[in-house]
């Protein structure tokens, strides 16, 4: 009652509550009184429009009567009226903003239907705003985008009118597909995708018949022009000046491809067919593929030659295409053309026939060639839509000829009976073909005929059939892919130029992209397997035609790849690491089936030769310098951590510029040539690692030597460790921020461990673990009990910025302990590094010649194997060792020397109890055991790791006794399966140990030296062998 009264009466004065029906009524009054926009009421109108949005949303959420009133009074018509006066951007923007808010925030579905029901929205959409005003444009396109987000099977009917064949939301939006503002273009693309995914048959038919050809042909032209621009940018920028511009263009091309892929992935058959047709005929084949073989394709005058791009750019772009697009009819056809097309394809009509045939035997009436659309999109749409109302029946009933609107719009007249037209059009083309190809050989004529015949019967396969058709695809080539190999390459211009690009004699500029393309072809799921077996993969069936070649793989290609590898191991080769990595990956793919390799002996020998060469190239860099080890591990981890990602590679515009050596360009190391000695060393390491890896893969061998650190044997943080028989040095660790913790320092074979004791006696939890090789120790000038220790991040951790794992001050109980710790840390560091250097030496087949003599014990056994000369080296080494200590003038080095000669006193000074035990156990051992850890060095296996939960039983406890004591406590061994092998090898060892005693010179010294050696079980096997050899020598 009250309400109905106020319905008419209210709204003459402004109510206090801005969120109320009353307020809306008031606003309604304002609008009705100000239907003409003038200078004076502009501000009032804007505020009114804004308030309306606010109230409506409030009403939508709180009070439905608000909406009723809005609809009742048909208030949207006011909007239109205002709009139609030239009201200026101020009002326009507010209007669009109000609409935006309205459609974005409405949650009530019925409200939405009401808003859309009276077609005002469509009138607003077609209104010609002042699009030169950037802000109006932005609000307008956001408005359309917002609407497109509301589309679904129901709401589509408010926008698409089946009877008038009208779909302003879509047709108005696509007119801005090439707007200069990228945000506008993105909005348009969003809108188109939102439209396509609405499943409404008649709407999609409309899209296909009336708009697809104009839109796609313009889109394709737009993309093509970007490509030409990109090409120009590459051509004119030999010195890397406009990198940003180039990066933009490359990214833009990727955007295009992703957009096309998003459309194709919606899997709307009719639409995909039109799009595929346009892409192939108008862009991919004439511009991308033909550019591969430009010279021969168009030897004539450059005047009328069609646009082209350089073959490098073309290879690059095609790689992107195959990496992104997966729509089978498209990529499969394109792959066929690249792999098998012959020269004849360059004649226009032949191109068309071939594309048609390869695609799906479906006739296309699109004129092939990279040509501008005959008219602007806007005009085509107008024509097409004007005609559409008259020709609706023809257009929409003819599902089979999706591209009709283009010729129609081009010719400006509507042809009745599309099928007839198509046929006659094609007929005339055939005649042309006959005429223009008078000079072609009989064979070619025959092929043409074959092509034509084949195109006839397969009138219109459904999308599902397409793949099958193309698989069986009769082509010019025989049914099974591989045959083309037998044909001389020269008859296949495209694949020939792809292969030719693999020549790296001068540089690997084009080769890299050629590899990318081949790789992308192999990875693309849309390219049929038949096409690639024998080309990019091994032949599946031995009885297939490729057996004629007596090979199971593509020999010409493999030869080229092997050539790249052979070339790249040369120190001065102009082959970038990235090229080598990709070559290797491609090669394994071509010759490996599962885990078995089909590589012929000749090729394998070439690879092995390359491996030898790469290791001999690396040897000169093998120095005692610390940096070599760091570099080696760094390169190894880089390689493992970041395997080449080809998709990312083709996103990097930097590779499009000619290869360069200077790091100043900011191009990553792998993507340019090395500069300076350090980089040359890095390159040599990387090449060696990659080629070695390939050789292992081909030989189906397991990797045994890398990584240098066996992470499974390392102590991790939070491991509970049995520290009985380990030397602990108590210390306080003072962090940079002043925090202070008490820890015990344990120096393991390769690790430094800070432990915190647990409640259980003799056990501790690892709180911090670092590799000895990464530590840096310096004394403190002011406090002789202090050490500054920095533990750098291991390279394998992948930390990009090398923040130290720990940088802290360690305070020990007294000067002596401090010195001892320092010495052990320094020595541990050296030993850890020497051990790894020795591993590398073995990898490189460098005769075991320690770069630093104090690693003598590490290599002891290896050296014994050798002749007496070796012994001399060792002696020399001993001398060096002394010099080294002198040179370093380590504080307390005297103590170190003393300890060397008399180990036990030093021990006892630190842990008298255990030293005594150890001594006694040692004395019990009959001295011949040469390899015994010295008590203060804790061999890794001494620190048995136990999980918290099972660390409690006393049984475990006994099994965790350190290994050195096993010989003296034999009964514990049986409890400990994990030590069985050790025990076994120990037993085996003993006789050998005895036999080696005479040769080993002075046993005490030896045991001193070998005490650093880690005696892992498998290691002792090796020792055993070596010793055996040594006995023979003696």
């Amino acid at each position: 009652m009250f309400r109905s009264r106020s319905w008419f009466g209210g709204g003459l004065w402004k109510p206090k509550n801005p969120h109320s029906l009353e307020h809306l009524k008031y606003l309604y009054n304002v609008l009705s009184k100000n239907q003409t926009v003038s200078e004076s009421n502009r501000g009032l109108l804007v505020e009114t429009l804004r308030s309306i949005a606010e109230i409506l949303i409030w009403g939508d959420q709180n009070d439905s009567s608000v909406f009723d009133f809005f609809l009742e009074k048909n208030m949207l018509s006011f909007f239109l009226k205002i709009m139609k006066q030239k009201c200026g951007s101020y009002v326009c923007v507010q209007l669009l903003q109000t609409l935006n808010i309205l459609f974005e925030n409405i949650r009530n579905e019925t409200s939405l239907y009401y808003l859309l029901s009276n077609n005002h929205v469509n009138s607003i959409i077609v209104h010609k705003f002042d699009f030169s005003d950037e802000e109006v444009m932005a609000y307008y396109i956001s408005f359309l985008k917002t609407l497109s987000l509301k589309l679904n099977g129901h709401t589509i009917h408010f926008f698409y009118n089946e009877h008038t064949n009208d779909f302003p939301l879509y047709t108005e939006a696509i007119k801005f597909f090439n707007h200069s503002e990228s945000m506008v273009r993105i909005a348009v693309r969003t809108l188109t995708l939102n439209v396509y995914r609405v499943e409404d048959r008649s709407m999609l038919r409309f899209i296909r018949d009336r708009t697809a050809a104009p839109y796609f042909s313009n889109l394709v032209w737009f993309i093509g022009n970007h490509v030409l621009e990109l090409d120009a940018c590459v051509r004119n920028d030999a010195d890397h000046q406009s990198k940003n511009r180039l990066a933009d263009l490359v990214a833009e091309h990727l955007d295009h491809l992703h957009y096309l892929n998003d459309i194709l992935c919606l899997d709307i058959p009719d639409l995909n067919q039109v799009l595929t047709d346009h892409l192939l005929n108008k862009l991919l084949v004439p511009l991308y593929v033909f550019s591969l073989d430009r010279q021969r394709a168009r030897p004539s005058s450059p005047k009328n030659s069609p646009p082209y791009v350089s073959s490098v750019v073309s290879l690059f772009l095609l790689s992107q295409v195959f990496l992104i697009l997966t729509h089978a009819p498209l990529v499969d056809t394109l792959a066929k053309i690249i792999l098998h097309a012959d020269r004849q394809i360059f004649s226009n009509s032949a191109t068309q026939d071939k594309i048609v045939l390869l695609q799906q035997g479906k006739p296309s009436i699109i004129q092939p060639g990279f040509l501008p659309p005959s008219e602007s999109l806007e005009k085509s749409l107008e024509t097409s839509l004007d005609l559409s109302s008259r020709s609706m029946s023809v257009g929409s009933s003819d599902l089979a000829s999706p591209c009709t609107s283009e010729p129609r719009s081009r010719q400006g007249s509507l042809e009745e009976g599309i099928n007839t037209a198509t046929r006659s059009f094609k007929g005339s083309l055939d005649k042309d073909t006959e005429e223009t190809n008078l000079n072609i050989t009989d064979e070619e004529k025959h092929m043409l005929k074959v092509l034509e015949c084949q195109s006839e019967p397969s009138a219109c396969p459904s999308d599902g059939e397409i793949k099958a058709t193309s698989n069986e695809g009769p082509m010019l080539l025989s049914p099974e892919g591989p045959v083309p190999l037998a044909q001389p390459l020269s008859s296949q211009p495209f694949i020939e130029s792809v292969y030719n690009a693999l020549n790296c004699q001068e540089n690997d500029y084009a080769a890299l992209f050629s590899l990318c393309l081949l790789y992308a072809l192999g990875k693309n799921k849309g390219v049929s397997g038949v096409l690639l077996h024998g080309v990019l993969f091994p032949c599946l069936r031995p009885d297939a035609p490729c057996s004629l070649l007596s090979n199971r793989y593509n020999v010409p290609l493999v030869e080229r790849l092997v050539a790249i590898i052979t070339l790249s191991v040369q120190p001065s080769a102009k082959v970038r690491l990235v090229t080598l990595e990709l070559t290797i990956r491609l090669l394994s793919q071509i010759v490996m089936l599962g885990t078995s390799s089909y590589l012929q002996d000749g090729h394998l020998a070439a690879i092995e030769g390359a491996k030898e060469e790469s290791s001999s190239n690396l040897r000169p860099f093998y120095k005692s310098e610390e940096i070599f080890l760091d570099m080696f591990e760094d390169e190894y981890h880089e390689l493992k951590k970041r395997p080449l990602n080809v998709e990312w590679l083709t996103m990097d515009s930097n590779v499009l510029l000619p290869p360069t050596g200077t790091p100043l360009t900011g191009i990553e190391f792998g993507k340019r040539l090395p500069c300076g000695d350090v980089e040359r060393a890095r390159r040599a390491i990387r090449v060696f690692l990659m080629v070695r890896d390939l050789s292992l893969t081909l030989g189906v061998e397991e990797e045994r030597s890398l990584p240098l650190t066996d992470s499974t044997s390392c102590v991790q943080v939070d491991h509970v460790l049995n520290l009985n028989n380990s030397d602990l040095i108590g210390c306080s660790v003072v962090m940079k921020d002043g925090s202070r913790v008490h820890r015990f320092l344990v120096i393991d074979v390769i690790q430094l461990i800070l432990v915190e004791p647990t409640r259980r006696l003799g056990y501790g939890v690892a709180k911090l673990v670092g590799f000895l090789q990464d530590i840096e120790v310096t004394g403190d000038k002011d406090d002789s009990r202090c050490l500054h220790i920095t533990i750098h991040q291991p390279l394998s951790s992948g930390a990009s910025k090398r923040v130290p794992l720990l940088a802290a001050k360690f305070i020990f109980d007294d000067h002596i302990r401090c010195m001892a710790a320092k010495q052990r840390l320094n020595k541990g560091r050296k030993v850890a590094r020497q051990k790894k250097m020795a591993q590398i030496a073995r990898l490189l087949d460098i005769p075991a010649q320690p770069p630093n003599p104090s690693s003598a014990y590490n290599l002891l056994t290896a050296r014994r194997q050798e002749s007496a000369l070796r012994g001399a080296v060792r002696i020399a080494g001993g001398r060096d060792q002394r010099q080294l200590y002198n040179a370093q003038k380590l504080p307390g080095h005297a103590a170190a020397l003393r300890r060397e000669s008399t180990p036990s006193p030093t021990n006892s000074s630190k842990s008298p109890d255990r030293a005594r035990t150890r001594d006694s156990s040692r004395s019990r051992e009959a001295s011949p055991k040469p390899v015994r850890p010295r008590s203060e060095e804790i061999p890794l296996e001494d620190i048995a790791k136990v999980k918290d939960q099972d660390a409690s039983s006393s049984k475990d406890n006994s099994s965790l006794l350190p290994i050195p004591s096993t010989s003296s406590v034999p009964n514990t061994i049986n409890n400990s399966p994990s030590h069985m092998s050790y025990q076994a090898s120990n037993v085996n060892d003993s006789p050998l140990g005895e036999s080696s005693t005479p040769t080993s010179g002075s046993p005490p010294k030896q045991s001193e030296e070998t005490s650093f050696t880690r005696r892992a079980p498998q290691r002792s096997d090796r020792c055993e062998q070596r010793r055996r050899g040594q006995v023979e020598t003696v």
Binding site: P18, H19, E47, R50, A53, E54, I57, W58, Q61, N62, Q97, N100, I101, E104, N105, R107, E134, E135, A138, Y139, S142, K145, T146, L149, N178, S180, E181, S182, M183, R185, I186, R189, T190, L193, N225, H226, E229, S242, N244, R245, A247, D248, A251, L254, D255, H258, Y259, N261, D262
Partner: protein, 213 residues
């Protein structure tokens, strides 16, 4: 997007908001006339506003990325087209915070390293329902080199600052020459210039319901 008028030259940069409750933030920033009140949840996906930095008039255009997550090409393009991005999470919903890593990875992959990213913890007015501590947001931002701020679209706290600080950061980068504003000079006419490649991202659903504020 961002437009800077200066010596007859105008520069565009774009940026987006991603995450939760972003459309409310956006409206709050671009249109002060809308009073945040308890029974009204309202937002927009696009907004423009003039601001002044260093005495220069700068037009900010902000595009929301909502609703386009299904299409890779769209998110990609958005990232590329933006100079800055705002990543928004809801301090009362832990899962929105947990998603940040994914968005950030996405953003970093598609954009160049110059893009300014601001992390925003929204709904700071709902202290009682807070699930994500301010310190956590700070730590995340610190770890990934983002600017951080907690805002409330409801009380308008910090909203202004969030957008303006982001804009300032971009502006500084332009002054430093990090953003090459001349690089889309030739070819198709690109009205005022575009700057760098970078966008930001979408999130999960932008809270269609009562979530915002």
């Amino acid at each position: 997007m961002f437009e800077i008028e200066q010596q007859n030259q105008s520069i565009h940069d774009c940026f987006f908001v991603s995450g939760v409750g972003k459309s409310c933030l956006l409206l709050q920033f671009t249109d002060k006339r809308f009073q945040p009140v308890h029974d009204l949840t309202i937002g927009v996906e696009f907004g423009a506003r003039m601001i002044t930095i260093d005495g220069k008039q700068i037009k900010l255009q902000i595009w929301d990325t909502a609703g386009q997550e299904a299409f890779r090409s769209i998110t990609r393009s958005y990232y590329r087209g933006a100079a800055g991005a705002l990543l928004v999470y809801d301090i009362t919903r832990r899962e929105t915070f947990n998603h940040l890593t994914t968005w950030l990875e996405d953003a970093r992959q598609h954009s160049n390293s110059n893009m300014v990213i601001m992390l925003i913890g929204n709904k700071s007015d709902l202290e009682t329902r807070r699930e994500v501590k301010k310190e956590e947001g700070e730590a995340f931002a610190h770890e990934h080199g983002l600017i951080f701020m907690e805002t409330s679209a409801k009380t308008a706290a910090n909203v202004e600052e969030a957008f303006i600080n982001t804009a300032k950061e971009i502006y500084e980068k332009i002054q430093e020459g990090v953003f090459d504003i001349n690089n889309e000079a030739n070819g198709i006419k690109i009205g005022p210039q575009h700057s760098p490649t970078n966008p930001s991202l979408p999130s999960n659903n932008p809270q269609p319901g009562g979530g915002c504020c």
